[in-house]
């Protein structure tokens, strides 16, 4: 396969991944890296570098649309980005120390966990936990638009959330993914932020988190322009089309199908890592 053909195929696959990732909320990056390594024999480090760049594109592209709707919270996002960016730098540093087969196994396990998390229902909603005084100091408590007028919300367990964000950032920097599922968990379950606010704020944060590790990846030579080009253009195009189609719909069947694809890829990654074929 020549570069022209290779670029075209990678573009189409990335577009499909970006499209399904946007529709299901799982993100496209999680499938692009395994497909590149398992099906096209691309070295895991090149695949991680290319995917990370595409994560910045899809996150920023989607955030541009979300931000106007007034769901995302810039205060919650910016404060938690201290955790994700420090984690991302740490993760990118770890990436160079961990042997590639071990990296593949970790990647597979994180994939499995993300697929499992996305299949879980959102938190129950009501809680008796006290509002966090820190959230008051940082003016994090706010409201979001709804058909019944603005809905107020109160933020809880800010420090726990920050700690979980460090973990999410480390995973993102280590594996070159957005780790949106982990970010949503931290906001949705630990900090009890409404789901709509959690997901849009998470999307907003993904780009900043990825940019923090992108610098280190660039200097270590992980980002190849020839490979990153079709991945980035494809994933962005696919995710924008996906976001346009997704108008409040809950594509359950698609979500399940994509979840199964993710799980199969995850198991293959773990198997390839354990047998040293990667």
């Amino acid at each position: 396969m020549h570069i022209a053909e290779f670029s075209g195929v990678i573009f189409l696959i990335s577009a499909l991944a970006g499209f399904l990732g946007a529709l299901t909320g799982l993100g496209g990056g999680v499938v692009i890296t395994p497909v590149l390594t398992l099906m096209f024999g691309v070295d895991l480090r090149y695949a991680i570098g290319a995917t990370l760049v595409s994560v910045i594109a899809t996150s920023s592209g989607a955030a541009a649309a979300y931000v106007r709707e007034g769901f995302s919270s810039i205060r919650i996002g910016m404060f938690l980005e201290i955790g994700t960016t420090v984690g991302a730098v740490f993760g990118a540093f770890l990436n160079t120390k961990v042997p590639v087969p071990a990296l593949a196994v970790i990647f597979g396990m994180v994939l499995l966990y993300s697929a499992y998390l996305s299949a879980q229902p959102h938190h129950a909603g009501h809680t008796t936990e006290q509002p966090d005084p820190l959230a008051v100091t940082l003016k994090m408590n706010s409201s979001y638009p709804s058909p019944e007028g603005p809905q107020a919300y109160v933020v809880r367990r800010v420090k726990t959330g920050l700690g979980l964000m460090f973990v999410a950032g480390t995973v993102s920097g280590l594996l070159g993914i957005g780790s949106g599922a982990l970010k949503v968990i931290a906001m949705d379950r630990a900090m009890r932020i409404p789901f709509k606010v959690s997901t849009t704020t998470s999307n907003f944060m993904i780009g900043v988190t990825a940019a923090a590790s992108a610098g280190l990846y660039l200097y270590r030579g992980y980002i190849d322009p020839g490979l990153a080009m079709p991945v980035m253009l494809g994933a962005l195009a696919g995710s924008l089309i996906g976001a346009r189609i997704l108008v409040g719909a809950e594509p359950r069947v698609l979500r399940m199908v994509f979840g199964v694809v993710v799980a199969v890829l995850a198991i293959e990654m773990i198997y390839s890592g354990l047998t040293g074929r990667i």
Binding site: F40, A63, P225
Partner: protein, 124 residues
């Protein structure tokens, strides 16, 4: 008093993200045309990790190669612009929080900005 609010900065950030992503896509796509004309018939070699050459790994090298219209460098410049988009977003937030006179958040945002700049400038 400046009428800066969180809502107004989020509107401006939306515009900034859109313009930044569009500019970077234009640069990557433009570079891709040169790249496919020049290298389209070669074989992709990503099976073994060798790392990128020095001039594709630093901001200076990428800019220098782009001035000479080298295809890989043009694409890499577009990717660099893309990485700069979230950084610009954070930098703008410093300004927006300062306009709101929220010094706690100016400090928080400056910490995030410092980490990003240190990473991209190759200081970490």
């Amino acid at each position: 008093m400046p009428a800066w609010t969180d809502e107004r900065s989020e509107q401006a950030i939306g515009l900034l993200l859109r313009a930044g992503v569009m500019a970077s896509v234009a640069m990557v796509a433009g570079g891709a045309v040169f790249y496919l004309i020049r290298h389209g018939g070669e074989l992709p070699q990503y099976g073994a990790f060798r790392g990128e050459p020095e001039d594709l790994r630093s901001v200076g090298g990428i800019v220098a190669g782009s001035i000479h219209l080298r295809p890989r460098h043009l694409v890499q410049l577009g990717l660099l612009m893309l990485i700069a988009v979230p950084v610009a977003r954070v930098a703008f937030s410093v300004y927006a929080f300062a306009a709101e006179r929220d010094w706690t958040f100016v400090a928080i945002t400056l910490v995030v900005l410092a980490i990003l700049v240190a990473s991209i400038a190759g200081l970490i």
